[in-house]
């Protein structure tokens, strides 16, 4: 097997995709974001609750997609839970660099998420890794009132 492929599909990633953490729905939803990649058929429904102090108090997701999108979502929820907004935003920015910028030295705070830097070698899969994160970005930007936002590809491609 090609090592680049094995780098991408490491056991940690396969494990998260098969047994995604924080999979399910929150009670007392504050913000829900529905995101999708229409060209893949991948979708995510991300629910986030921010605390009074602005922290990401809890977040859970449902949906379906490839191993990369599911593992990225699962690992994201583990990392973001309990983080202050600013720190969560910094993680989002850092993770975006991890999957798109070659030679980027990923900060240690991203932990296992750094394993997803392997998608750089598979440009078609970047949007899979980013699906949950784009949904989270919408949640960060959502108004404080409860509601449903949408995050998705700006244009679909067809094949």
């Amino acid at each position: 097997m090609n090592t680049e492929f094995e780098d991408l599909y490491q056991q940690v990633i396969l494990d998260h995709s098969k047994r995604p953490r924080n999979f399910g729905t929150l009670e007392g939803v504050q913000i829900q974001v529905d995101g999708d990649n229409p060209s893949c058929g991948d979708e995510i429904h991300l629910q986030v609750r921010f605390g009074a102090d602005g922290r990401v108090e809890d977040l859970r997701f449902t949906g379906q997609g490839c191993a990369i999108s599911q593992a990225s979502a699962s690992m994201m929820t583990l990392k973001l839970k309990g983080k202050p907004r600013e720190e969560a935003r910094a993680m989002l920015d850092a993770f975006t660099q991890v999957v798109t910028a070659s030679g980027y030295e990923a900060p240690k705070m991203l932990g296992d998420l750094r394993l997803l830097s392997g998608v750089q070698k598979f440009p078609q899969r970047v949007k899979c890794a980013m699906l949950a994160w784009r949904a989270f970005e919408q949640a960060l930007e959502a108004p404080p009132e409860p509601g449903i936002a949408a995050a998705g590809e700006s244009a679909t491609h067809c094949g």
């Binding site: 492929f5 599909y9 098969k18 893949c40 058929g41 997609g65 490839c66 990369i68 899969r125």
Partner: protein
Amino acid sequence: MEAFRADFPILHQEANGHPLVYFDNAATTQKPKAVLNALLHYYEHDNANVHRGLHLLSNRATEAFERARAKVASYIGAASPEEIIFTRGTTEAINLVAQAWGGAFLKPGDVILLTEMEHHSNLVPWQQAAAKTGATLKFIPLTGSGTLDMEALDGLLTPEVKLLAFTHISNFLGTVNPAQELCTRARAVGAVTLVDAAQSAGHLELDVRALGCDFLAFSGHKMCAPTGIGVLYGRAEILDKTPPWQGGGEMILSVRYESCTYKPAPARFEAGTPNIAGAVGLGAAIDYINGIGRPRIQAHDEALALRAFEGITELPGYRVLGPQSPRGGLVSFVHDSIHPHDLTSFCDQKGLALRGGHHCNQPLMKKLGFPSTSRASFYLYNTPGEVDRMLGILREADRFFA
């Protein structure tokens, strides 16, 4: 058939460290040397603009272009080359009909009848035509096995149906539709018919007069020709009534500042300098395919599809969609726990080129409950050994991901 592989230079390379297995022929086929040489020869010897030059090269280019048109006419059994319009491909051909014919003849209350298995290119142009003209879209449903529900057709084929447009072979399910029966029944209620032959033109014999269709569209690049050249066949009687589509040079008889008169078909529908080299390449592709014989290609492709269908069905975790037979030269399949994108990426790492995605059939995918599938599609240069290699790779993928 294996001997023909030598005609396709691109096949003889490695992909990700393995011999390339190219199973994405429903998307586009590879090109034989005969076609590549025809393009080179045209540009090295004959290149000029067509239909207007009073010089040697222009005459030769015009002859080559019109010879290609005549070859296409004979390839699909058209009554004359004047029924052959060159387009960019199937998509443009269908848009031409939807906009020029549909714009002139569809009105509120009319029904455009399609099937539930249409490629987006035979759906979206009709959505646009319906929005513009006030016509309504209806769809022939599918049976559980992925064939058209012909019993539902009686209720759907009412006098309001002005057009029936359907795919000859589904690029997603592989289903072969009963084109002749559909055209006959549509004509009985006075409906015009359009056959999307993108997946059949390079694989089996086509005779538009035997089919009884009014329009038929296909792409050169799915049958050994270059990209950017395609065909719209239109029955002469209907083309004569259809107003022009795009305006410009080549399609006019005389132009004044305020108005103009148009040429008859096919020139009326070919504004601007056409893809001359593409047409020459398509002519060469037709010669190449005729040299092998379509019945032979059809038997070969269907045998590979059957081998793949049976082989994949036996693998643990996998399932093939669509009917076993009759089936065009392709199989769409899913694994019960591996996402098609992961599976298709895995195959790519083994040198196997498949398609993963929605195959431009989003409504049907949604209806069947699949986000996407993997698809293997075959052509004359593929071999049973390659199908067996795919089966081995799919088994490995099951072990890797499961």
